[in-house]
Amino acid sequence: MGAAHEGQGYMTKAMRSPGEAQHEYREIRGFASFDDPETLSYIHSDGTPKFELIRQTEEFRTLRRRLTTFVFPMTALFLASYLTFVLLSAYAKDFVSTKVIGVINLGILLGLGQFVTSIIITLGYARYAKRRLDPQRKLLAEKTGVEE
């Protein structure tokens, strides 16, 4: 019963969107738990993957957690930094007009700073995806036998 029960155990810990809690699909999981773990297959006889089962595997949960814990905080971060720049430009004119290098003022430098942070986040995500996400995807593909 291993895989399916493990899946149920993790279900309670899974991250849920607001309003989703009351809405799970027990009948599908029930059906899965009757399978013999030795021959547990993630592919229907017609060749289509059993996505509901795959969704409950630990490999998938780990992947989803790794993805969301990176992209959502990062999105909040760059939006906050961008909006700070915008709000400063709109409401703190004297501050951003401070000259720093020759006639180049703080506002222009902060704007160029956005270019720099964009590149850093882009490269950071590419690296994170390569090291933490792609290998996990491969693991999941190997376990379930479903190719990309």
Partner: protein, 526 residues
């Protein structure tokens, strides 16, 4: 006008470009086209190729002519556009590109309708795509009008109209002959040329001023009637409470709109998998950063060497800053080259837009709404081609009507529409399992509708001297850009409509499939 250069030379450089690209498009296109070839180039491009094409899709007339012109006229306030347009790619990279690639095939509708009731959602997605593309297209064609006025010294409205029509026809040819593959190649060639062009101009300008951006800007302030104040915020947006809010609204639309544009989203289908989609955004980000660094130099360079007054007085107004600067530093030949590249830019971007609009109509409306998913592929492509012709004609008419507006500003309206209709819906459908058909329809129509209504009743349409209808006043919404209201509104609509409607248990299997595919990519090609 002494600055128009040699019209014959300009035209010949442009004609050579068109002939070469048409030949490449012809060679790239295969004779027996499948739907996948026509819409998504058979998903055969690499991440790097698609990344350059992706930036090409965004390095439009609006960014090249509009941004350099905006900086040349308003200094700091022009520069703000470019910051938003660089940061915006992060939305695409982190939240959208891979999930979209893994769950869709040809259009935005594929993703939005994946686990929803097909017909209403596809129809809504197609409506949004058509409205957004049409706004964006008008902006591009208006840019073409200004450029033609400058380069060929065609000042009569009729002469310009004929030339806009010619541009439109060449663009439709690209789409009909080449489909997505041809359009992508045109986009790549153009993006490389444009990048080379702006890089060389910037390096030259910097060299002229002893590699000091400060020196360029210092001289620029002497040729602007605001003096040093042009380097500070406020030259364009002013200091009233409303104008500041308007500015924040614009900034929000810029950063959230780009990764929601249908023709940009469609690009993610031209690569074989999610990892390549990711790679293409990384490439696009690099090219955008280089490009906008250069426009900063070119914008202030134009202010320094040509002068804001002379730019404003030129045919084409602000949009002519970059070509005028090219003439100033490189004479007729450089002007010819720069204008040819700018023309090519307009052609390629409009071709991409036409393709997105026609794909959405043929694939979502014709094949899935009208034929309920049982359309014959050959007929579907024929419908797509017919639509491309219709869209081309509409854009020619719209472009002639909007001739003369600042293109960067028009684009910002299209971005507000895209962010309002698409962004909330795509994010909800990928990341929120409870999201359902009712929520989808509300967030698309709520965002699109509120955005359109607010544009109609804003100072853009009526009430002030710069409005499209300056003589009447039915404006009650004070902001020129509606994004600040309509984008949160669409998120709210989608959320409330989902919460207050029944879940769709019959879609549970599709929802599980979408979640697994979007996040892991496995099973994405079945």
């Amino acid at each position: 006008m002494p600055t128009t250069g040699n019209p014959v030379l300009n035209l010949s450089v442009f004609a050579v470009f068109v002939l070469i690209t048409l030949y490449i498009v012809y060679r790239a296109s295969s004779r027996n086209v499948t739907a996948s070839d026509y819409y998504a180039a058979g998903s055969s491009f690499t991440g790097a190729q698609n990344g350059v094409a992706l930036s090409g899709d965004f390095l439009s007339a609006a960014s090249f002519l509009g941004i350099s012109g905006g900086i040349a006229a308003h200094g700091y306030d022009g520069f703000l556009y470019s910051v938003g347009w660089v940061v915006a790619w992060l939305v695409g990279l982190l939240l959208i590109a891979e999930g979209l690639r893994n769950t869709g095939r040809f259009t935005v509708g594929d993703v939005l309708a994946f686990r929803m009731r097909q017909r209403p959602v596809r129809a809504a997605a197609a409506n949004a795509t058509l409205v957004i593309s049409f706004f964006y297209m008008i902006a591009q064609m208006a840019g073409a009008g200004g450029l033609i006025a400058l380069l060929l010294n065609v000042t009569s409205k009729w002469g310009q109209a004929i030339l806009i029509a010619l541009v439109g026809m060449v663009m439709v040819l690209y789409v009909l002959i080449g489909g997505m593959k041809g359009t992508t190649w045109v986009q790549i060639i153009k993006a490389v040329l444009l990048l080379l062009c702006v890089t060389l101009m910037s390096v030259f300008l910097l060299g002229k001023f002893g590699f000091s951006l400060s020196a360029i800007m210092a001289q620029a302030t002497e040729n602007n009637k605001l003096g040093e104040a042009v380097l500070d915020p406020g030259a364009k947006y002013g200091f009233s409470a409303m104008s500041k809010l308007d500015f924040v609204s614009l900034a929000l639309s810029l950063v959230l709109g780009i990764a929601s544009l249908p023709h940009v989203l469609m690009r993610f289908y031209t690569v074989p998998n999610a990892a390549e989609a990711r790679r293409s955004v990384v490439w696009a980000t690099w090219t955008m950063v280089i490009f906008y660094l250069c426009t900063l130099v070119i914008g202030f360079g134009a202010m320094a060497l040509v002068g804001t007054d002379k730019i404003a007085a030129a045919p084409g107004g602000e949009n002519s800053a970059a070509p005028l600067l090219a003439f100033e530093i490189g004479g007729e030949v450089l002007l010819g080259l720069v204008s040819a590249v700018a023309f090519a830019t307009i052609l390629a971007v409009v071709a991409g837009l036409t393709l997105a609009a026609s794909a959405s109509f043929a694939h979502d409306v014709y094949a899935n709404v009208i034929k309920r998913g049982n359309a014959e592929p050959r007929r579907e492509i024929r419908v797509a081609r017919l639509t491309a012709v219709v869209v081309g004609i509409l854009s020619i008419i719209g472009g002639i009507a909007a001739n003369g507006q600042n293109v960067a500003f028009l684009v910002s309206l299209a971005l507000a529409l895209a962010a309002s209709a698409n962004l909330s819906t795509i994010l909800y459908t990928i990341f929120w399992r409870r999201f359902n058909t009712t929520g989808t329809l509300w967030s698309i129509y709520g965002g699109l509708g509120s955005c359109l209504v607010l544009i109609i009743f804003s100072p853009v349409m009526s009430g002030v001297k710069t409005s499209i209808f300056p003589d009447v006043d039915f404006a009650w919404f004070p902001l020129g850009n509606p994004g600040l209201v309509s984008i949160p509104f669409s998120f709210l609509c989608g959320f409330l409509a989902t919460i207050f409607s029944k879940p769709e248990p019959e879609m549970a299997a599709k929802a599980a499939e979408m979640e697994v595919r979007a996040i892991s990519g496995i099973g994405a090609r079945t």
